[in-house]
């Protein structure tokens, strides 16, 4: 049983431990593990919700209903399988074996601040990339390579980041009559053309497509 905060374990190990230590997921069990690994609280909560929804789908019973041992084995197996499926899905989506935790994502996001690269980009391009608002398949490879270098990362990590779910769509702060509309992703060409760069610099960026 986890009792103390441990910052040495990575997310996958924590998820694995959580699954092994609990036959079924309950708010109490989730609370215990979140207290032990507060930096993974969000990932753990997301995972627990997926797990319990899978349980429910399988058992067709409320989460509070006691489940027989045999059924537990099957369910736990499926939950683990669900974990693996999620990892595989992320990998497939990312066209990369890299899986990013919330902390990893946050780290990459922070590197877009004051980014400098050649050809130069402006703040709107940097922010759009940081918020994953660009269709990955439209971005020239040469641009990606330079971007990866500029954020001191590597191509697989950058691709994993850009192809993961957009951070758009959560609860936002806004002062308006209605909530902000979920933004559609734009093409690389749109990104460049809508920037505040001079035409010459835009041409340089678009030339990376060639």
């Amino acid at each position: 049983m986890t009792t103390a905060q441990d910052t040495t374990m990575d997310l996958q190990s924590v998820l694995y431990e959580f699954r092994l230590e609990n036959e079924t997921v309950t708010p109490a069990a989730l609370d215990t593990i979140c207290r032990a690994y507060p930096h993974f609280a969000k990932d753990l909560t997301d995972f627990a919700i997926q797990w319990v929804l899978r349980d429910l789908a399988l058992a067709g019973a409320p989460v509070e209903t006691p489940i027989a041992d045999a059924a537990v084995d099957a369910i736990v197996g499926l939950a683990m399988s669900d974990l693996q499926n999620r990892l595989y899905k992320r990998e497939k989506e990312a066209r990369s074996p890299v899986v990013l935790s919330s902390a990893d994502e946050a780290e990459i996001r922070s590197r877009f601040k004051n980014i400098e690269m050649s050809p130069p980009i402006d703040r709107s391009i940097a922010a759009s990339l940081q918020r994953k608002l660009v269709e990955l398949e439209t971005i020239p490879r040469r641009f990606l390579e330079r971007l990866a270098s500029a954020i001191k990362s590597d191509m697989p990590t950058l691709v994993a980041y850009l192809s993961s779910s957009s951070i758009v769509g959560g609860m936002r702060n806004y002062r308006a009559d209605s909530a902000p509309q979920a933004a559609a992703r734009m093409s690389y060409q749109d990104l460049v053309e809508r920037s505040t760069l001079s035409q010459e610099k835009k041409d340089d960026l678009l030339a990376l497509n060639d």
Binding site: Q5, V25, P27, A28, L30, D31, C34, R35, A36, P38, A41, K42, T45, A48, I49, V52, L53, L56, P62, V63, E64, S102, A103, A106, R109, S110, F112, K113, D122, R123, S124, A126, A127, S128, Q130, R131, L133, I167, V168, G170, M171, R172, N173, Y174, R175, A176, D177, S178, A179, P180, Q181, A182, A183, A184, R185, M186, R194, T196
Partner: protein
Amino acid sequence: MKTFDIIRQRAGELRKHYTDVKPVLADRPLDLVLFGLTEQGFHVSPLPTGHPLLEGADATLDWETEDVFFDSRYSGPDLAELLAHELGHVDLHKPVVDVETLEPVFVTLCPLPAPIPGGLSRVQGYGVKERRELQANVFAREFLFPRQVARQFFLGHQLRSSQIAHQLKLPTGLVRMQLADALLLPAPVVEVEPSVTKAVRLDRSQQAAVEAQGKPILVEAGPGTGKTRTLVKRVEKLIRDNVAPESILILTYSNKAAAELLERLSGALPNVASKVWAGTFHAFGLEVARRFHQELAAPPDIGVLDQIDSINLLEHELKNLSLKHFRNLWNPTLHLPEILSVISRAKDEMINAAQFEKLAQAALKSAPDDKARELAEQTCEVAQIYQHYEQLLKSRGEVDFGDLIMRINELLIENIPIRTMLQMQYRHILVDEYQDVNRASVRMVQLLAGDGSRLWVVGDGRQSIYRFRGASSINMARFEQDYAGGERLTLQCNYRSTPAIVGLYTGFSTQMAASTGLADLALHTERLDVTNGAQLRCFESPREEALGLAASIEELKAQGVAYKDQAVLGLTHTELAAVAEVLAQAGIPVLYLGAFFERSEVRDLLCVLDLLSGRLSALLRVAHFPNYGLDGPDVYRVLDHAKSENLYGMEAVEAAVSLVSVEGQPGLKRMRDDLLALDRHSHPWQILSELLFERRVLIDSLLCESSVDATLRRIAVWRLLRFVLESPLPGQGSRTRRLLGRVRQLSRLKNDRDLRQIPEEAGKIDAVTLMTVHASKGLEFEAVHLPRMEKGKIPRGMKYDRLLVPTGMIAGADGPSWRKEMHDTEQECLYFVAVSRARTWLRFYVASKEMEKNSVFLSGAMLWLHVMTAPPQATLDSGIRAAEGWYPSTDSRQFNGTHINRFKDCPRRYFYTHVLPLGGIQPDEVYVKAHACVQSVLRGAFASGTEPTMEVLLDELQQVWKKSGPVGAAYEADYQKISEEALATFLALSQGTDWTLAQPLLIDISTEKMQVIPDQLGLRNNQYVLRRIRTGKPAAKEADELIYTLYHLAGQTTFGAGNYLVEAVHLGAHSALAVEVTKRKQENRRVTTVESVRAILANHFPVASNTDGCARCAHFFLCPSLLCTPEKN
């Protein structure tokens, strides 16, 4: 200082810092805000309209990349406002954001300053995020246009809002908004040293409550025991224990409690407060509804209706239902408030429309007698309306307040995945004010908390004063039954009151019904008693009592208890208004706004809107504005000319400039110029803010005094501007008329509670607070005064209104006496709340020296009370002087029986309608117009003296309808059909009698002659028939209307006793009933009529206040204004 004052102070300091660095920025707001954002490390960039980064907003702030993007179509003043809002977030909220929950901040520039979505404002205004947006708005205004600068430009330089906006390159709307704050609100009290939260240690019982874990915890917290502090400490403890703040959900019932909680949480946990979900049950329900709107089959921007919205929604639907009891042609909405409150109670009890229908039908089947059957039939009609209402709400994608709990509960019950997700997400649930929860909210807590092992609730069952909406201390009493293994803890130290006061209410608690199932109230206090801290002061009469109260306040003031530390608490506003009047006469400053829409300065502004929308009678009030100063005869000339020329509103004002006296012409011209400069089609907020801050109408007179009364007047105007800004105005046609209609509805429903509250900003004014016991909950005062502690006043007697609630709907409400028990329990709780607000001084007042006439609640208190049988009383300078009136010549006045009937209802209305040529119809509502058409056709028929054919009547109706009917209105055809039916009924009921032209019949009243003209006069079976014809339904005591006595007197005088018959015809009820009035009643009413005539001759037209009647009166906004200048010869 309060949060918003601190924010203003920060904005001011930041502005000063930047302008010290670069003085040139003081006059260049856009450059100033750009400089500020750059100084804070943010990049500001334009983006083309529609760029995905903007996500439909006008600007966005990205914390992580430290970017602010804005739509490139904005520039100059508007851009300065947009960016200042973002700078507000940067300065105020950056420290509370960490990298894991970065969320861009979006801002949209709106045509009006900071609008709050209509019916949603009451629900969502207290969320953490919404509060942050409000804070950023306040920051932006103060940063760009500090209040001090606003006062300097407006008062010192005497500039108008547009001149200020132009000179300072700011949006005019922002300038006006800030002028309102700067000029109308009291200046904040600057504290010499910053307030620091006292690091007082928790006592043992508080510590135990904070530390308890592993089981459901109920904390019973008596008055003054540090309930909210303990709750906040509990949250701090959870955070210390590594509980994710996002997993903490804190629910409470009222917006007031939620606001206080958020304030304290933000102070105690600035870095995580915004991650904790804290707010009302309804706000949480709204958030869940938006998140799972698809599962609720609702749109993402689900609308929330308040009571007035619901009435408007149902108003036009009633005719589509086959109703018998609630069909009312004259006033279709008459019963809707009552019906909607029953539906709301049903939702509090988790009874949906189908279940209600089932219960109603069961009640009908088992009804033992005719009376019960009729009530059950009415309940079945409510069920029918409930069903229809729910269908309407669903089809429109809207919910009402009750749905925000009930429908969410239904969702959580039916949809296990969603329930499970929320249980996983919110693993620690805390509930504040648990005594205020009702059955639906208890169920919501159960659904979210599961087994309750991480549930922590706090409350005081003896302060359960919201029983009318289903709250009950029973929920506290049965906590262990609801949550197996639950533990009950009590807070044991009172930090507020002296031992005498604590002893007084602790003793009372033993006899309270609400104590059943609760732990005994055993509080110790560390404070010391003062001599005679708790007193009972006995007087001979209510008047003496009121004067004694004034003397008592002054006595405490002389002992060092400032006015602002004293409060007078009452059960009703009627009581408080009477106290306020006496205290004002005694020269004691009071903080009390009273009935908001009856305040003179509020009606002044509403009359401007009324006049602009075409109602010339509003001139009676507007003409008195200091800027115009017209006298009575001049106003009469305008009105008279308008009547003769058939002119309305400003058209009439413009046409009359040359008709008024030479002295009056400049004033009337100023009025014309001021009002014609306003765009009457624009939003009412724009009209009023332009009137005050651009045309400078009324504002100088508002600002010239510094008394408490003048401060209250300014606060009232400020509140009105906020109300106008935040009012939802759905529908077609003039927004001004819709706003005025909403005001009438709010007044009718007595739903102006929020507006009566004194804003936080006024809290430092040295004046005695007057408030209801309900509003005082959660507050404390050094001295509390409780007047009218007599039998019949407290506990108040119960009103046995009809109850449209079927048996079985309210849990535990099946016995014959449950209503009485519930009422009595609530009265005890109200008394308990009232006395426990006092810190050191608690004074009761009674208007009798006979102890047996005192409230029964005092009987147990005598042990603690010092009784004074000859206490001092204040002396007043003079009584209230009756205003002198100005009227047309009495020689030309004719006394008309029908009119006298109206005098009895309200003399002032009689004055407006019949003495002045203002007319009396309030024609805004469609059904009123329809009825007026029918009445017009009938008048034509009466005047002809012959029996018309249906064809003639229909032809006449068609013509009248075209001219003054509800042409083009929604459901016009339905109203036309109803009108035709009324005429058909008239013809049907007219058969069998020979009708003749009704002549005026004279009767002697005092020394005057009065004429009575029956609507119809005919001969049937050798008997004269005098008929009064109404289009609606008869009132409950129809025969008691004065007019029927006058008909009888006229009949006796003209035809002789026994030779006539008086009939009341009601077309809406298809009824023609003979009206008998006993000799004794006839004589009494004759005396009443004589008195009325004398009052008219003496020019005495007092206002007869009647909430429903006043709100429907054509002269609602101008009343009680009376021209005060004697007529010139």
